[in-house]
Amino acid sequence: MSAQQRMGFFTDTSVCIGCKACEVACKEWNDVPEDGLEFTGQSYDNTGELGASTWRHVAFVEQGSADDMDFRWLMSSDVCKHCTSAACLEVCPTGALFRTEFGTVVVQPDVCNGCGYCVAACPFGVIDRREEDGRAWKCTLCYDRLKDGLEPACAKACPTDSIQFGELEDLRVRAQGRVEELQADGVAEARLYGDDPSDGVGGFGAFFLLLDDPEVYGLPPDPVSTTRDLPDLWKHTALAAGALVAGVAAALVGRSR
């Protein structure tokens, strides 16, 4: 047993100022290519979503109308969740995706053959295949930096500590405290997302404090790791294969030749 604790992120979106330093720092450190120069008109978000060439994505949500005093502009930096039960990793046929000693989920680019299975398996739409390159890419939780004892580039760059990196256990405690603090301050809508180890993916390695429902930020409200249902699925598949054999046998039984 190694003494290495599981490392992760707590992203406290209540203090995110939408500066996108995390997006840029991630690209700089990891040498991720530019992802298109498109004006989306979706508030200040011209990145759109996480993808093969965007491993941090800052969402911008404008809520309410200017006339009402409760107008809100929510900002939130999204990232791979480094799921406890990571569907991407489990379905990967080549073993390119693996779990590191830090409990994070990382693609080995020299192994991935671009089968695309992980893309369809991720319940968050995180990992994607880079078309020019053919392989799947996503946040590595800065595996190289972690090995050198550094915090990930995005967390390092975040000016307001919206992105907090640390031991997952500690982060969960800290996050609980933060929610309580916010709620005491009257921010009743503050909630944690992905901190619960009993959720559909066994808890996120990178979880969040949100100020509205997850889907408002483009996140699934009740993600489930698809492989949770795999035993059942295998059973059905075996039965189906058996049924196929039975059907063939029955077809052979007939009188006519």
Binding site: E28, F39, D67
Partner: protein, 812 residues
Amino acid sequence: MGSNMAENHPVGFQWVMEAKRRGARIIHIDPRFSRTSAMAHDHVPLRAGSDIAFLGALINYAITNDRCFREYVCAYTNAITIVSDDFRDTEDLDGLFSGFESESCKYALGSWQYKGFEAGAAAGHRELIGEQAHGAHGGHLAHGDPPYVDHTLEDPRCVFQILKRHFSRYTPEMVEEVCGVPRERFLEVAEAVCDNSGRERTTAFVYSVGWTQHTVGVQYIRAASILQLLLGNIGRPGGGILALRGHASIQGSTDIPTLFNILPGYLPMPSAGSEDDLADWIQLSSPPTGYWGHAGDYMTSLLKAWWGPVATEDNDYCFDYLPRIDSDHSAYAALLRMDAAEVEGYLVMGENPVVGAANGKLWRKALGKLKWLVVRDLVEVETASFWRDQPDCQTEVFLLPAASHVEKSGSFTNTQRLLQWHHQAIEPPGDCRSELWFMYHLGRRVRERLRDSDDPKDRPVLDLTWEYPTEGPSADPSAEAVLREISGYRIADGTALDAYQQLADDGSTACGCWIYCGVYANDENQAARRRPGSEQTWVAPDWGWAWPLNRRILYNRASADPSGRPWSERKRYVWWDDADGKWTGEDVPDFVADKAPDYDPPEDAQAEKALRGDEPFIMQADGRAWLYAPSGLVDGPMPTHYEPQESPIDNLLYGQQSNPARRQRARADNAYHRVGDERFPFVFTTYRLTEHHTAGGMSRWLPYLSELQPEFFVEVSPALAALRGLRHREWATVSTLRAEVEARVLVTERITPLRVSDREIHQIGLPYHWGENGLARGDSANDLLSLALDPNVQIGEYKAATCDIRPGRRPR
């Protein structure tokens, strides 16, 4: 107010977030709902260009509701001072102060003086060219006090009463009419600010170019200063008016200026005709009381730093070598001369005026009349490529590649006057060179050329001290050697100076910038100190070095009461230690260390010695902060609401529409819109986005930034979109008499129409980062703007003008 701190100073904004976490209330007053508003407790939208009405009303609120910090005001400000009988206020003259000369559109400043000073108050010539002079000149202050004062603040001619009358018409109702802020919202802000000020609490104002870029910009800051002084929020922790500055070392480039009218350390540049020798200069620049009383020491040391052994008492320390100002040589004045073909060559170093300065079209036209242009930049900015669109252009353009900040060592002076050293990380690629390299080797080669000249006009160049050790493969001059010279040394033995008090006017010291004296104390680069915050006190004195003398809060003597005790335990910062007989505290006291609170200067005392022990504002001749500025400003001793050069409405406060002293230049290629011009019914303002930097040279060429904001866009409210048929994400054309630009439409609730003067006023927001080069390309918002300038500092009115907007692309 007037700052979008979260977007433009995101790293500094972490401390606002920290304050918020600890319970501070954040209020953002800005025409638009920005990322800063999103983080604030309250966002109060107001009409661009109306802040003085708002601040004036806060001042009026504090005075009429008796919410001032009276002890502070009486003891530390010039509220008590009696003003000249000749002074007439805007109350009397419908928006003008006394002394206005309509012919020249300038003020004669004599009548604004304190009573008893009128006779000699002839320092006006400096102000006429927009230059700040120091102190109240023309009369001697006994005991640091002006001749006529009223400690009861009752005298109708005392500053406090004048101020009270001046701002009496700035009511919540007026705010509603002028700013478009409902009075209840205004009152909420007023209450919050007053509640949070006084002995136990302090309020800070943060501003930036949302305040400065107006034809009456300097007075915006004055208005805030007055309010903060009335509330006792200056010189105390958690208080202040925090100017968030621009480029990484823009503070440094004002301290050691790239401006035509000041020398390092805010020493005024001598003027032609009236300052023939050093004595004249000292006479005008060095009031007998306060720290400017040492201006002669600072100037002599500067001259010694520049001309070394050649500068002697006999030749007035080469004072003659300094240029003299004959007229306005600021950037826009130079532009107009260029356009008149009076300028042959122009050096642009790290600037992109074709995109970044008002009236881009005029810039392109004027640059095309130069014989030669040198642009030193990281990329081929539009200022270097303008000629490509001018087939007949004869200008020879030299684009010289510059080394970026990571490719050279040096210091950045930030907003807090903090110098932080940065070390070279990599060698510059190819022919890229640092500014130091360029200036040093250029100077070296020029001197080489002139070596045998006997023309006296070449002497200043030939006599310069121009020896610096060079290092690295490109023979870059050592930045530390330059810093050491700036910090100062003793001529006799070359040892480094520790403090500006050591400077002398007898030629025994050299110092490139007196306020930076000590940054190389103990022969160590103090700016390179990096002790982590966790290993020192909360003031963190061992991180970098702040001028002057590593003081982190200026005028911090004001954090203690007149007797030297902290105003409150909660806000204690610097105080008098009776036992030790000196000032002590969290910070380096901004005061003579052993001057007791009850110090009473002898009759013949000079400079700081002439200020009493309870007068904290040591740079002022009277040791007091000025609620009313008898000199130093060219457009009035108190702020007054004027409408921008271009406004949809009449000035509701006075007959005078706009700042009467503003600089304007009406001509065909710089035409202005009249008030209420139906063709240009909307207000527009320009600003920045986190994702880009100013004129774009450092962001539009970078893929990681360009993808974040790829196109020029215009922010409009849903109401305006409906009114004009603008479609989200599609094109719109914004027009003024100067130009038409096209941009993508971003319809957003973050922009709100305001009810102003019984009308619905629509505001339009335009980020100004784009130009035709780079990866993220687009039209430049600055093509829309005109030259209309603040008269004090020649800053352009980028923040409020009028325009029209229509769907579709602009005609080609």
